[in-house]
């Protein structure tokens, strides 16, 4: 554990500090060595930038499984702490890398430990650093993924479905498993909030719809469909119909019992 104050408030790193971290990643011969080098960089005030708004220290987050999903509670907490941000600013690696190495360091060392894995270098790239900002890297980064999934699924006003009484109802459903996160959000259609929420409503009905195979097949069908029909322009009812249609096809493709009766309205 580094000599950090507990839950220091959010800041960002300078571009030079990010570059130095990447060099340290290349130079280090062990995870312990890397974290020592990293601490010397991230804790140096010269390498830090203040955020436009002072946020104060955050509520701590923990990777303890709560029966719903490891991060089902952590994502809302990070989202509430940082608040809504313009997506252009929320794609800034200077912010997320600082949060991973400093503000939420205890969480990161428990949730995405470096010493316990064979290839710590790959885990640093996937979960700690953000060498390239893409959809895939944002939903994999240890802290960015929490805010982004909450942001993409947050429903501030009550609405029928998973957000009837919980503005983060869709967030918690999305974070039930890591496979589900990747299956839904690492696709272009995963960037369409109305489609994502309709998919999660469908999945929440259970009865096999929540299996990873079904979700994977469904998202694949939606992606193929989006190639010839822009499903983002459809209204809520049309999206639901499309999902039921795709669901039936997906089950056939992955060899699952069909949900074809849903297409016929039952």
């Amino acid at each position: 554990m580094s000599g950090l104050p507990s839950t220091p408030e959010a800041r960002a790193l300078t571009d030079d500090a990010l570059a130095s971290l990447h060099l340290a990643h290349g130079d280090a011969t062990s995870a312990k060595d890397f974290l020592a080098l990293a601490d010397a960089i991230v804790l140096n005030p010269v390498n830090q930038l203040a955020l436009p708004d002072r946020l104060g220290p955050p509520v701590a987050i923990s990777p303890d499984r709560d029966g719903v999903g490891i991060d089902a509670e952590n994502a809302p907490r990070v989202h509430e702490y940082l608040g809504e941000m313009a997506r252009a600013n929320a794609a800034d690696p200077r912010l997320w890398v600082y949060l991973a190495f400093v503000t939420y360091r205890d969480y990161m060392e428990e949730r995405w430990p470096l010493g316990a894995v064979g290839t710590w270098e790959n885990r640093v790239i996937d979960r700690w650093l953000l060498p390239r900002v893409t959809r895939g890297s944002l939903i994999r980064h240890g802290i960015a993924r929490l805010w982004w999934i909450a942001h993409l699924t947050h429903q501030p006003q009550a609405s029928p479905g998973l957000a009837e009484s919980d503005p983060h109802g869709y967030t918690r459903e999305a974070l039930r498993t890591e496979d589900r996160v990747l299956g839904i959000f690492d696709r272009e259609v995963g960037a369409m909030p109305d489609v994502v929420k309709a998919v999660l409503d469908h999945v929440a009905r259970g009865d096999g719809r929540d299996s990873e195979g079904h979700i994977r097949g469904l998202m694949k069908e939606l992606t193929l469909m989006h190639g010839y029909r822009d499903i983002g322009v459809l209204d809520a009812d049309e999206i639901r119909f499309v999902i039921e249609d795709a669901s039936a096809t997906a089950d056939v493709d992955v060899g699952l019992p069909s949900h074809e009766q849903d297409v016929n309205g039952s």
Partner: protein
């Protein structure tokens, strides 16, 4: 479009499904601080397609995707002109939604169900077949282009100039005034002085030395007084305060004179102006 597979109906594009063309030309885009403004021309020689657009059964569409911000949106570009065989379209993308590369697909999509779509020029292998088309279905595909969403403004490291706004005040008789109650530091100048500031636009160091420097000194003094007064209103919500505070902290903090701090932040504009003047005929 990404992951484009085969279409369930023939589409006017660069394939031979329909012996017609649908092209996107003269693509231009201009980033501003707020938006990326896009202008393009699409043209076609297919009369069926033109008719569908004219009747409203189909419309122009642009879908942009930015993977770095996990964002995508579909827009119906504004028609700003016509050519002999095409349409001049404009649209814009909010800079706050994108970062890095943005991919844009240009197409025509159905706005309503079309029970029997049959292209006059469809490939002979389709024979006389007609196709059911649903709302949102692509019926023409112009391909895609890429935009680099360069940022003119970094909120974590904003330029000092972004903190100030200059106001031409017809009621002001002389001198300049600084208002620190707004989201920007508002510097009011007399009409004549404001006009002179504008005319000095090709001498930015002169503008900085004569107006920005004293305004920044006044701002730093205000911040110091605010910090010293426990009862005063917090300034944390104001962008200019956050930016200037960060700059001052970077050069050692507020325990220095406003004159010294302002000169350091602005890189000694007085020195730069006076040492660059050509007194034999420069500054008319």
């Amino acid at each position: 479009m990404a992951n484009r597979g085969s279409f369930p109906h023939p589409v006017v594009d660069d394939s031979d499904d329909v012996a017609s063309t649908f092209e996107v030309i003269n693509i231009a885009y201009e980033p501003t601080q707020e938006d990326i403004e896009i202008r393009l021309t699409v043209r076609t020689d297919d009369s069926d397609l033109a008719q569908l657009i004219a009747t409203g059964a189909a419309r122009h569409s642009l879908r942009w995707t930015c993977t770095a911000t996990i964002s995508t949106d579909e827009v119906s570009p504004e028609l700003t002109g016509r050519t002999g065989d095409g349409w001049i379209l404009t649209t814009s993308i909010d800079q706050q939604r994108v970062r890095g590369n943005v991919d844009a697909d240009v197409r025509v999509i159905a706005t309503e169900s079309i029970a029997k779509l049959r292209w006059t020029n469809q490939h002979a292998e389709y024979g006389g077949a007609s196709f059911r088309v649903w709302p949102g279905d692509l019926i023409a595909d112009g391909g895609s282009f890429r935009i680099a969403a360069d940022k003119l403004y970094d909120p974590l490291n904003p330029p000092i100039g972004s903190c100030f706004k200059f106001h031409r005040d017809a009621k002001l008789r002389k001198g300049i005034r600084v208002n620190l109650l707004a989201d920007h530091v508002v510097v009011s100048l007399t009409s004549a002085t404001f006009d002179g500031l504008v005319r000095a636009g090709d001498r930015p160091e002169l503008q900085i030395a004569t107006v920005v420097l004293p305004a920044l000194m006044e701002t730093i003094s205000f911040i110091k007084d605010n910090h010293a007064d426990d009862d005063s209103e917090g300034l944390d919500g104001r962008d200019w305060y956050v930016a200037i505070r960060a700059m001052v902290e970077e050069i050692g903090g507020f325990d220095q004179s406003p004159l010294l701090l302002a000169q350091r932040i602005l890189e000694n504009p007085i020195d730069r102006v006076l040492t660059s003047l050509d007194l034999d005929g420069d500054d008319e």
